[in-house]
Amino acid sequence: MMAQVAITLNVNGRNQTTLAEPREILADVLRDRLGLTGTHLGCEHGVCGACTVLMDGEMVRSCLLFAVQVQGSEITTIEGLEENGELHPMQKAFSEYHGLQCGFCTPGMILAGIDLLKRNPDPTAEEVRDDMGGNICRCTGYQKIVESVLGAASEMNEVTS
């Protein structure tokens, strides 16, 4: 077994140092070492999108990064979205529009939706489906997920306009 090394990660605005082996992927370190189990692991090889997190504000697959690689970057997980006890508008929209069934894909969907709206603040339903095609829902509840993202878009555009 390889020796563990000390890794300092900035997660949700907080620096945290943990011991981990270089082969430990970011998702495992978030879940098992830092206790942030909101990031879900589905396929563990970059296909399903469940483990999506933001790295320096851009969505990435946390199953395709070694934790040791992201030192010096800012990681945002689903746990880091609420502010002062207020859910993020995307989280609220998923609740309001019933964008989740079993909830397993939801953290990845929410972060992917946030990333999409940053690049395209007012997408069409077709654009949401196309852009979020990398996130898989096995309950196949896509209709409500698309409605949630569109709902969040109009909510967020109202706030900024």
């Binding site: 090394v5 082969r23 563990e44 970059g46 395709l64 070694f66 690689q69 990398g134």
Partner: protein
Amino acid sequence: MKPAAFEYHAPESVDDAVGLLSSHEDAKVLAGGQSLVPMMSFRLARPATIVDINGISDLDYIQCSDGVVQIGATARQSALEESCEVAACAPLLAEATGHVGHRAIRNRGTLAGSLAHNDPASEYPAVLMALGASVTAVSSGGSRVLSVEDLVSGHFLSTALGPDEMITEVSVPAQSGGHGFAEFARRHGDFAVAGVAAVVNMNGSGVASASIAAFGGTSPARLDEAESALVGSDGGSDAVAEAAARAASQFPATDDIHGSADYRRALIDVLTRQALQQAIAGAQEV
């Protein structure tokens, strides 16, 4: 924790990186990791040493000078997608990038890494062959330039690179004429079952030059028999159909879970026609 244990190095210069590659047996370069990490998680790859080049900041660039687009080894695919230089100088590359994986993959994945991995279903090796691109490969012994065609063709999940070499830059000559790109994938963002990239130049009498490459077979392939059928023709539908038929017969088709070799040849016929029609229409506008 699925990957086998490895020794991790994060050099800050190309010299240090190639030094590590030459002094360590079974070392592998880690760039975006979007192909290597899943292979390691399945233990299809279990390198003893990982040389993470993401900390080499002077490899992260996209620039266009003297009619050549130069793309550093750690430039992300999402940066290619948004680059004005790529859109202006190599629109085929810009268009094909939208078909590579999903946005989350492109935020980490690199062009050079995709070439070095050389998955036969990947868009980039064929696209860069059609564009006549080359790579700079560096080892502790020096550097060399080789064409993407020499780098990837005939190889399966491997390249002509030596174990102590790394790609530092991909150079794409500014595209002239029109381009076409067509692929068939079960879902947008999935690996394509097959695809075709083409660049065509027209003159007063018809097709002056054509460069056609395909992916989804045993190895990315330049389709020179289709090219010679097209060059000198009027670029009309008969000539395109003849070129597409030759493309299908020359394509190194293979059977797998996603489709039979016969199905792939039929796809290449259709996709070549679509790509050439787009390329010829584009070339006529120039």
